[in-house]
Symmetry: C2
Subunit: 315 residues, 2 copies
Amino acid sequence: MHAPQLVERVRKGDRRALARAITLVENGAEELSAIMAGLAPGTGRARVVGFTGSPGVGKSTTTNAVVRAVRAKGLTVAVLAVDPSSPFTGGALLGDRVRMQEHATDPGVYIRSMANRGHLGGLSWATPHALRVLDAAGFDVILVETVGVGQAEVEIAGRADTTVVLSAPGMGDAVQAAKAGVLEVADVFAVNKADRDGARVTLRELRQMVAMKDRADDEWKPPIVMTVAAEDEGVAELWERVEEHFAHLEATGGLAVRRRARARDEVQAIVLERLRSRLGGLGEETGLDALAREVAEGRSDPYAAAEVLLEELGA
Amino acid sequence: MHAPQLVERVRKGDRRALARAITLVENGAEELSAIMAGLAPGTGRARVVGFTGSPGVGKSTTTNAVVRAVRAKGLTVAVLAVDPSSPFTGGALLGDRVRMQEHATDPGVYIRSMANRGHLGGLSWATPHALRVLDAAGFDVILVETVGVGQAEVEIAGRADTTVVLSAPGMGDAVQAAKAGVLEVADVFAVNKADRDGARVTLRELRQMVAMKDRADDEWKPPIVMTVAAEDEGVAELWERVEEHFAHLEATGGLAVRRRARARDEVQAIVLERLRSRLGGLGEETGLDALAREVAEGRSDPYAAAEVLLEELGA
């Protein structure tokens, strides 16, 4: 399929074309620049909602329940799972995978995992491209699921229009881990498995953390929702909070700011990837490998080597 | 403290100088290029061992026990914790933190956490710098602890001379998550909490995965060690396997290959950071923000915008 045909079919929401386009993204294919140029005019419509949290808090169960809530509103929805432990990516227990299948025959739902671990910056580079494809395909809502532990993964979740951070009771160190960077990106908190012991403690801890942050009067204060996603409890309320946050972004102009920031990251990632591949090329011909050897053996230092390469790049 | 003084004192292993140098790394300070140039001649001696695995497998307990085993061999050791959930970084339970303190008065042990989440690529950029400082300070062994979930974190662990991947029984989906990329970087496996139910199952799963991979006859086959790190069980054996792997690398020339790859990454990371900051600068003056706006609004696409910037960079 040539780029113009693929673009045409993606824009119609054709499933095979979507799958093909995202595979091209995963492979970093050359056609991408033509495809993205073709898709650009149709983008900017979808609401992008990130879901993140430590392994075990129930991200996939929650995502699945949210898909149901969004469909109940008559909206179409795509799920992009960049979490390696997600059942979407084939990483988790069979029970979860079966649960996902309830959406398999719904034409208003599309689920796709991203397996790209190929190169440094891989996820940061590939995720915005995949979002762009799903956006152009006309989905009303895109849910991005990432594990809330890695640096790249947290950054990806934080670049959504609305970022939902999930916790669960009884995960002492996981909640602590979350503090390290995940909480800063939260627009909405969900305490999942809220029927378990310790849910009130988790709620209280989150409340304290939310309260501690200084905010202007008109600034968004992240609400906290208690959910039992496996039983669909609290999920409609969670989605309401997400919609409120989106409305707040629209009303304050924050939406355009976030989307420009996302586009900025995307452009930078492409520029840096192009320069990186040029570096690799230079290396083979003119000596990145030789420079690396000198650095490894203590005969040079990485900054001096970097200066040599920058000169060779002409930058 | 000026760069030459700092370099002098780092090379003597002065604790305050070490702490200061790594803080400069975390802040991406300008002095770094002078400091790294000064430290270069003393580097390349330390053995770098990475420890990674999902949250909850006992990474910190194992690292702590390994510190003891390494000290018992008369070697000095530095720990660099880039795991946000590590007790070294203040993320975990008090009990763990107390346990670490056994090394607080040992002049042959230095423990440092990395809190840098500041910018995209932060950890990938900062970690090799911090390793370089600890290497120049003369430690025989450097243990790098990262959580085995994020893309950047797994890559960091995989760039060690020897990478130890930890599992624990009864962590179904965590072990599954590990499969997504962590296993590929393993030189040695440890099944921690091996006194718990399910340890044999985990061992069998790992054995199968190790067996499934095609290897040349002289290629290293990752051994699997059963440990109960909290009781010091199996830890001496774990360290023996690490030493055997290191000896194998030395004998086959693999060590130099790995270290050149690490240096290559390091040089590339510096080049890309410099270009990235130049991009930011260009943006303010000549229009990255304007380009990002066009992309966000669907009036341009990220590749077209990237081309404009590459031309402006002169690259």
